[in-house]
Subunit: 274 residues, 2 copies
């Protein structure tokens, strides 16, 4: 008997919420291996019935019940899923009752609304934030910094671009980024157009060995990717952050989500969408 | 008495999971207004105690108990939060027991692991996918399409770029995009470099009035943003999608999450990270 457990993330919407819930619980069982499948847009009895058939077949053949993480709202669909020979983790059903009681309101039982709140006025600001990040990437434009919520600074390939795009997509934050040049690092001062933005600056740094590896994949055997150059740039960048009192974070072992949440938290940034 | 309810998303990590789960439940109560606050990195008894004090103050002054959506794992921290005069929605505690029983394993009770799974080998592929999206945006490069998992096509400003970046960040999907030119639309054929990629193509379309509005914000009073031009381009693009049997979707009232999940689902794409 194998310890491989099939997991279904079932949703009447995109499945992102079901995946988020399921992942965060499953990561607590790091000795078990899981085979995940997402089934989005399950909004009819027929679709639910098909999942039940698949699940029951797996249970019969493997002897191990799959786990179903469900965020579906429709009572009929949930009733069908519940009958599968599986462990049914019913996100909606588990909490909606107590929330109704607390809020003295009935829930609307509307399906696929998980991203509705986010879209309420959030769509435009999100696209604007993303365009801002793209237009202000890599020091491409230094005239728009007045509009920025935050300006990430760091050496080339320290993780600035993905962080800016994530801040835009997830939080609607206007994030620019500026790559510290050799000139900046040698002079040991910030360029003048950044000096009056101190309260918006946030530094990213990285382990020199990791930086060398990342740069090497792009331009192997170059001065840019040499151990010496990477060490020097990181040393000078961190020295500059300290001298200028710019809060900073090492991205080496930190996920984009964590970097973004830390910046938001430490800089006290107000998100522009929920 | 106001109907405004304070909501806390409390986490020992970034708070993104608590927010996602909490939002999806709160959107079911569209007649209640909520005042949300996220408190990330709550990993000590002291930090939990401070939240309890804030919560109790709000309850005392407003007469309405806040709702705490918590994904914290540590039993001590959860125990403290539980004592606040609030409705405590405990995502971890509600499900971890039944999962332990089902899996015959104890959970590791490790905090802030929600994004751990995603990062397991997922970090590099995610950055690669993002770089791919940036390098292959807006038809910038047409030589890399062999490496693409999907190529979005559509008229200018139909939502291709945000969708590609979201596909990269959320799923590690290599997504390129190509803007249909006036030349393509007039000739009513796909450019040759796309013709042999049919199985990777996915079309995005948009309501012409909405397109006019979006284009107008960038270049008001231009032919590009005129009603006539927007109508013509959308008409011809949809005609081309049908003729070439390219599946397509209208982005007008659809969130980026939904567009991305639909593309994944309809094209049967395998995500490169969890």
């Amino acid at each position: 008997m194998t310890d491989e457990r099939t997991v279904f993330f079932v949703s009447d919407g995109t499945g992102v919420t079901a995946e988020t819930l399921g992942h965060s619980l499953l990561t607590q069982f790091d000795t078990v291996s899981f085979v995940p499948a997402t089934v989005p847009f399950v909004d009819t009895a027929d679709k639910a019935q098909k999942i039940v058939e698949t699940v029951n077949r797996i249970t019969l053949h493997s002897g191990l019940r799959p786990i179903i993480f469900s965020t579906t709202v429709d009572p009929e669909v949930r009733g069908i899923l519940q009958q599968a020979d599986a462990q049914f983790v019913d996100f909606f059903g588990s909490f909606i009752g107590e929330l109704e009681a607390e809020l003295h309101h009935e829930s609307s039982h509307a399906k696929g609304k998980a991203h509705g709140m986010r879209e309420g006025g959030g769509y435009d600001v999100r696209i604007e934030a993303m365009n801002f990040a793209l237009n202000n990437d890599d020091g491409a434009k230094i005239t728009d910094y007045a509009k920025a919520d935050v300006i990430l600074v760091g050496v080339s390939r320290s993780g600035k671009t993905p962080t800016c795009l994530y801040l835009a997509l997830q939080y609607g934050i206007f994030a620019a980024n500026y790559p510290l040049t050799e000139d900046d690092l040698e002079k040991r001062v910030l360029p003048r157009f950044l000096a009056n933005q101190q309260q918006k600056l946030y530094g990213l740094t990285i382990d020199p060995a990791r930086l060398q590896q990342i740069r090497g994949e792009r331009r192997g055997n170059s001065r840019y990717a040499s151990a010496k150059q990477c060490e020097l740039e990181v040393y000078e960048a961190e020295r500059l952050f300290k001298a200028e009192r710019i809060p900073y974070l090492a991205t080496t072992h930190t996920s984009i989500e964590e970097i973004a949440a830390t910046i938001l938290h430490e800089r006290g940034l107000k998100r522009r969408m929920l």
